[in-house]
Symmetry: C2
Subunit: 82 residues, 2 copies
């Protein structure tokens, strides 16, 4: 199965990278851009064919390694193998 | 409108961060994980209501600032404002 994990800073946490990109975009003339948030996306293949089991495994990976759950939130999408 | 930009290394480019995460996952016992690729996701609000015009603007932002098109590929999704 194909796993796609999005990791973002939680809403209350200041996203300095996003602020930097927003101000750079304003500087380049795109002044209508607002609320820039930058996150990570992690894609991988995972064996097996049970979608619910795969999702549970991926959530465990997020809790242990892929996300810092103190300041980051994550979203897991599981699809068929490509 | 809401813009979501995914930026990934191009397929031929070695993703060292992905390799590191893959080997860490293997070390934690998830040996079935393969082909880890790590990218960035950039979300922001952009004024206006013309979807095609917004997409063209966002592509210009990617070419100028958001992606390094020598080694990175990007995908643009535009949706209605949240």
């Amino acid at each position: 199965m194909k796993a796609i994990v999005h990791v973002f800073l939680k809403p209350g946490v200041l996203d300095v990278q996003g602020k930097a990109v927003e101000s750079a975009l304003h500087g380049l003339g795109w002044t209508g851009v607002e609320g820039v948030r930058i996150g990570r996306v992690i894609e991988f293949d995972i064996g097996g064919s049970d979608r619910a089991a795969a999702e549970a495994e991926i959530r465990a990976m997020c809790e242990k390694l892929l996300a810092n759950t103190v300041i980051e939130a994550y979203r897991v999408d599981v699809g068929p193998a490509p």
